[in-house]
Amino acid sequence: MSTATQVNEEDHGHHHKETFVTKYIFSQDHKMISKQYLITGIFMGIIGIAMSLLFRLQLAWPEQPMGVMQVLLGKWAPDGIMDPNVYLALVTIHGTIMVFFVLTAGLSGTFSNLLIPLQIGARDMASGLLNMISYWMFFLSSVIMVCSLFVEAGPAAAGWTIYPPLSALPQAQPGSGLGMTLWLVSMAIFIASSLLGSLNYIVTVINLRTKGMTMTRLPLTIWAFFVTAIIGVVSFPVLLSAALLLIMDRSFGTSFFLSDIFIQGEVLHYQGGSPVLYEHLFWFLGHPEVYIVLLPALGITSEVIATNARKPIFGYRAMVASILAIAFLSTIVWGHHMFISGMNPFLGSVFTFTTLLIAIPSAVKAFNYITTLWKGNLQLNPAMLFSIGLVSTFISGGLTGIILGDSTLDINVHDTYFVVAHFHLVMGISALYGLFAGVYHWFPKMFGTMMNKNLGYVHFWVTAVCAYGVFLPMHFIGMAGLPRRYYTNTAFPYFDDLANINVVITVFALVAGAAQLVFLYNFIHSMFYGKPAEQNPWKSNTLEWTAPVEHMHGNWPGEIPHVHRWAYDYSKPGHEADFVPQNISLKEDEEELQH
């Protein structure tokens, strides 16, 4: 910090004396907050993935005593056999953690924080204080969620969608007691955190762009983060309302979602509520949430593919238009999760129509990525491999959406493993690949050192093979009619021939899990012992690479660079180098592409 010599009026922070606490813990610096998000996200990811491996073991070898269960689950796995309630709890918390804590906060929180100020040329976020509060609320909600795992009766176990009445009535399952209360409290805090973060991102992008950084010169990463934040602000409050109403039903005897219930030999007093109302409220967030998870990953991919292909991203305007189209459509398709919920079948046809429309902007994005690779000079760095991998799983997973989005076809595959395979490929794996691509690409920016590329290659190839190994066969057991969230299939002899497919899936899942240890080792080791990074290791055009390697408050010593061109002048004819950073002025006779 002390090396900064020039002080100007927008430059906050230079005169603050920093202590360990203000620098590493209650930091208001967006770069530190981004690291905090990433590390918390990775920690939650380890828990989420470990849980999935546990229930995969159960699905492959049901009713077989396993020592690992006894060690990890203790009394919840008597004699080494997992309890059915615990199976449901693991599935529930795995979903919650991966969707919200890893792929929303860990992905969007990390990279929006790191890249928005650095790529638009701002000293920091619009409000550093709100940003800090946002992170610490996320941290608090993570702590509460983790604490809920240690509740006597177990954590929430009603599925990550926590449909009432199952989630509302402690009599219905053990997980709907204190575990569910903690889940709801944790999520309410999480939503508040996410809203503070999103508002900050929106305000920063609108107000703090450096001179020359028009909206049409924004890198696609920023477009993606910006639109994601807007979707979050529009839809997260609805989930908050659903959570609050559910808390009222649970604790204060209201009947928003409950009616005519007889359970454990007792008629309950609830009258007139409807669980379908909850489903509407939940999915009004739940579906946009898919895009809250996916759009940042696509934004990262756009940036990484263009940089490493040494080519402009193909169809910049079409890419922006498709982000906007996806964002708009994402708010009017929630009903496709409810075709057979008992809502009016006419609504089913409306939602089929809007849902299948989303395939159009998605197809445009996929084709544009493929065309960007065409005649490129592809630098196959680990980040690039993960980005190409993302396009592959985005296509494979997205295509089966044509089946699930069609109300007719949904009738028989709804809630089967076909759905599990579909959404894991299209949002789970794709978004994880986006996260990995982002970490490999911006690690030098975050930590000032390089990650080991060979470990990165091993990580990618093992993961890529296993991802298909897990989820491709899963389509088959779904098409065979096997419902999801079954503790074991042994209650139905009809499904006996699916047992060996489940073993194959579990083996691939275990190997994939092991491959993540390679990443973890690489991440931690490179943080401390990695090769020192150059300022612009990937020869990229965006502004973050014009800032010095060593982090400083205010990001740039002296003046913020001005922007003179879009972010994708790679291999532009008339230039010696194959990249022209955004802060380089146009040459005299040079034309800027009209965007």
Binding site: M66, P84, N85, L88, Y163, P165, L166, A172, S259, D260, I261, F262, S274, P275, A309, P312, F314, G315, I340, S341, S349, T352, A359, L373, W374, K375, G376, N377, Q379, N381, L385, S392, S396, I402, I403, D406, T408, L409, N412, M450, Y457, W461, A464, Y468, P473, A480, G481, P483, Y487, F492, P493, D496, V511, A514, L517, G530, K531, Y570, S571, L593
Partner: protein
């Protein structure tokens, strides 16, 4: 023991991966090592991209060859044929697009792998191309949407007529019951408030003041006459459940506090299905697996598994608690004569509460 073995295998795999990486590193000719991809990395990973394309195709083909027989047999309901048709058309489109796009993606990644000194082709935009790949999906999807909506409307518009059979499906943690409307063809009113009447004999809460309810029949096994429209009225007494009858391409949630509906016409009796070649093959395969599994059980002094015969299934397909995985009911589709004979032998509500 298995756990120990699994852990050992995992540890060995981890060591192997680490060693391979080391060898990979050592085998490279000494040069300035950077952590940015160089020509060797591009060459190797480019080729791996091509290999990966082959892997995706091979895995797809292998899965069909090895596991193609686990898929559901042809539909056993009237609308099921339309459903299957639409499914196969959608799948044909998906396979076509998947094959082409994955090929382009991975082939480009292989073909245009980077080399020092090469320069990429500056190609930023082409409106005509964008228009082409916007319009083609629009046309294909418009076709799918229209076909889908037509089928959906015909499946979901339930029209009750003289001949249709009205059955209530009643869900609770963790079993199913069915209520037939009896001679009058009308289901009596019901509510969970009446469940405790008559010392718990009123299993689905029929309102004893409604005369329509007296001839209703409540059973634990679902019998359906072949060739006649069945209209299901679904209820749940506690949490959400979903009545899933995969062989009939039928599913609907059961929601406490409301009555949901689904209707279909079964077209194949259970005994027809048991003679269907696909089903025969599947049952044979399953029984082979069961004999195999029984050996281990018998060795442990437990009873062997019973041989399996095919039956239609009603499963719960909405998470509903601990025994969700075992909430099922047998469905028997039989000739109208068999059905009449069976229903005549059941006790009516009036008989049960006497």
């Amino acid at each position: 023991m298995t756990v120990l073995l699994t852990l050992t295998v995992l540890a060995l795999i981890a060591i192997a991966i680490w060693q391979v990486t080391k060898i990979f590193e050592l085998s490279q000719t000494p040069k300035v090592i950077t952590q940015v991809a160089d020509d060797d990395d591009n060459r190797l990973n480019g080729k791996l991209m091509f290999a990966f394309l082959i892997f995706i195709y091979a895995l797809t083909l292998f899965s069909f060859w090895r596991w193609g027989d686990v898929l559901l047999p042809d539909a056993s309901s009237e609308h099921g044929a339309d459903y299957d048709n639409l499914m196969w058309i959608s799948f044909a489109i998906i396979f076509f697009v998947q094959t082409i796009t994955q090929a382009l993606l991975h082939y480009f990644a292989y073909k245009f792998r980077g080399e020092k000194g090469k320069k990429a082709y500056f190609y930023a935009d082409n409106d005509r191309l964008e228009a082409v790949w916007t319009i083609i999906p629009v046309i294909v999807l418009a076709g799918l949407i229209l076909y889908g909506l037509y089928t959906w409307t015909s499946i979901m518009s339930v029209e009750e007529d003289e001949d249709s059979l009205v059955i209530e499906l009643y869900a609770q943690q963790f079993n199913w019951k069915a209520r037939y409307s009896g001679d009058d063809g009308v289901l009596g009113d019901a509510n969970v408030r009446f469940l405790q009447d008559f010392d718990g004999k009123n299993q689905v809460g029929i309102d004893a003041t409604d005369p329509n309810g007296f001839d209703d029949v409540v059973v634990q096994e679902l019998h359906l006459p072949v060739g006649r429209e069945v209209i299901f009225k679904m209820r749940s007494q506690d949490v959400l459940h979903s009545a899933y009858m995969p062989h009939f391409r039928a599913q609907m949630n059961c929601v406490p506090g409301m009555i949901t509906e689904f209707a279909f016409v079964p077209v194949k009796t259970t005994s027809d299905m048991r003679q269907n070649p696909d089903v025969v093959a599947k049952v044979k395969k399953i029984n082979k697996i069961r004999v195999e599994n029984s050996k281990a059980l018998v060795a442990n002094g437990e009873e062997a598994l019973e041989p399996y015969t095919f039956d239609y299934l009603l499963l719960c397909n909405k998470i509903c608690g601990a025994s969700h995985y075992n909430m099922q009911m047998k469905i028997i589709v039989e000739t109208p004569e068999e059905f009449e004979k069976w229903i005549a032998n059941q006790q009516t509500f009036a008989q049960v509460i006497q």
